[in-house]
Amino acid sequence: MTQFIEQIMFALMLSSTYALISVGFTLFFGAINIVHFSHGDVAMLGAFSGIIIYGLFGFTGLIGNVPSWLVTIIIFLATFILIGFLGTFFERTVIKPFRKSPLLMVLVTTIALGIVIRESVRLFYPQGSNPQVFPKILPQMNFEAGNLIFRFDHLLIFLISILLISFMFLFINRTKTGLAIRAISQDIEAANLMGINSDIIIAITFFIGSILAGLAGILIGSYQTVVRFDIGLMGGIKGFSAAVVGGLGNFYGAIVGSLVLGFIESLTSAYIPGGAPYKDVFAFIIVIFFLVFKPSGILGRMAPIKI
């Protein structure tokens, strides 16, 4: 029984890591109709920036002097800002020029952008082709209940993920800027006519999405403890799959999709004998299955992103 509970916990954690990425995909698609193929790589950049900033602390000898909770907060904030701006920078240079072009162009440019990001990290970060250890920035306590070991940092990661996603949800649905984003997703020309500066709103959307990705990178890095330059590729595909299965453009859908994917992967590797190498096969077969029967995703596309 305890084994089962443990497996459920792992499945939930895996789902939350996918959810962080898939919510970003859904945001970009819902708001501006763009599939940002390199979103996973932006998350990877978040993880790496966490490592770099932590390293800076160590480098400047501050590590002993600054209380660790402060270090953690600084890492979160710095990544927040850094990746937010980096993501927006990518949008301005790579995605914006193609606004008038066929949508598929953006797909290719983001694919190429992904290549550039991955290769840059691999080449310019020292020992970039090797896995990198993510620093332990969350408290490492354990609780024991019977045979189960609960890790405090995993719990924190899970809670922070939920918080982040909720914040974003509230932002989109309860603020004026969020209203503007929703307006643009409905009809960009009408929104412009209403006095909304769509250019800036798009930039803001990317800023938010990238922040989410950056922080996702830190959380995923903390959970997996090891990151590599290419985790963004598969992570992006899984996050995209989760978003689509749930219904692209639908917030709740992204979460549902992540749960579906995370649970199937985890449970098949644990409970189907000889199933572990096929866990992705199962996950993707279920994806196809859902799409065949629910062609617009489980919860369908909501236009606009509803309250």
């Binding site: 691999r122 020992q127 082709s129 997996q224 290419d230 985890s266």
Partner: protein, 391 residues
Amino acid sequence: MKKFESLLIAVLLILVGLLFIDSPTVFSAEKKLVKIGFIGPLTGPNAAVGLGARNGADLAIRQANERGDLPYKFELAVLDDASDPTTGVAAATKLCTDLLVAAATTHFNSPVGLATIHVFHRYGVPQMFWGGIHPDITNKYNYPEVTRICPNTLVEHNNLAIFVIGKLGYKDWSIIYDMSSYGKNCLDAVKPAVTKAGARIFSEDGIAVGTVDFRPILSKIKAIKPAPQVIYFGGVVTEASLIKIQMNELGMKNLYTGVTGLDSETFNATAKEAAEGTLIIGKAHIGESSPFVKAYKAAGYKEYYEATGPYAYESVNLIIDAIKKVGPEDKKKLAKMIREMEYRGILGITQFDEFGQTLSGGLTVKVSQDKKWLLWEDSEYAKGKRSIPGK
């Protein structure tokens, strides 16, 4: 748009101008230029290993040129196979049709090697494998051009069985392997090796390369009663270190073991404290104070030499030694010479069997102590000061 375009045009004009610059020629008048080819994964998921090997090969070339005792100037012709067979075949074709190339040292991924051996055989160019352990590379076709300087998995796993089962007496095993050619080969080698030595296999789990979350599988193994003493992993460093980290997270105290795929300082650097007590069959022990490591550091390469760097280094030295004896022009003679060589170097003595497989490869037993791989004999575990997990 205007500014971007003018900038681009300026850059392009400069580039076109470069076309007309005479590139300096590489060889001097007196010495004959001899190229030795290198093919390995310089991009892609195995880039760390490929770059380390390239640097090892490069070091050997540099040293040979510095010694200057031969009438040749050596150059390393480096090509990337990106772990992809088609790219590998293109690279092999390029090297084999370049008349200045005397021989080549190749590959980390066996599937690429299995495709390129036909190319090297067709053109008769000697090919030495510094990585890529699939038995078929040497045994299936027995091409006279092909040799392999690293040990193959059958020998590795026999050694593992002898040590862990024979010496330590651990008979209860759980096996995890990755779904690459290498991982499959490990699985196919470890099962007969350990069952022959009297072990029982409690579980077998394959994982896709690139998996990062092993907790479901480990949790399942944790629930096996009686608990297996050994958890074996057949695969490479990234997954191996993640497994060990998560094993510790789950409080699992089984002995973690593997073969040369784990023999890399990256394992220790990634798993850190969690790596403690991991036992493996390792590649030849190249100590920090050995001339190879000193020269490697002095040359200032950006990447670690990983486990395969010394093998690539040795392979180039062996090739150069063979060239010293029979010259670079007659490739058939060169291939024959390489096959018959008995070479003494950083790996000990290297000699090839009738299929071109090295007889020794310098295998050792290593244990991870304080985040470093130490020879078993030198460790505190052997002396009984630390106790090996899995009891």
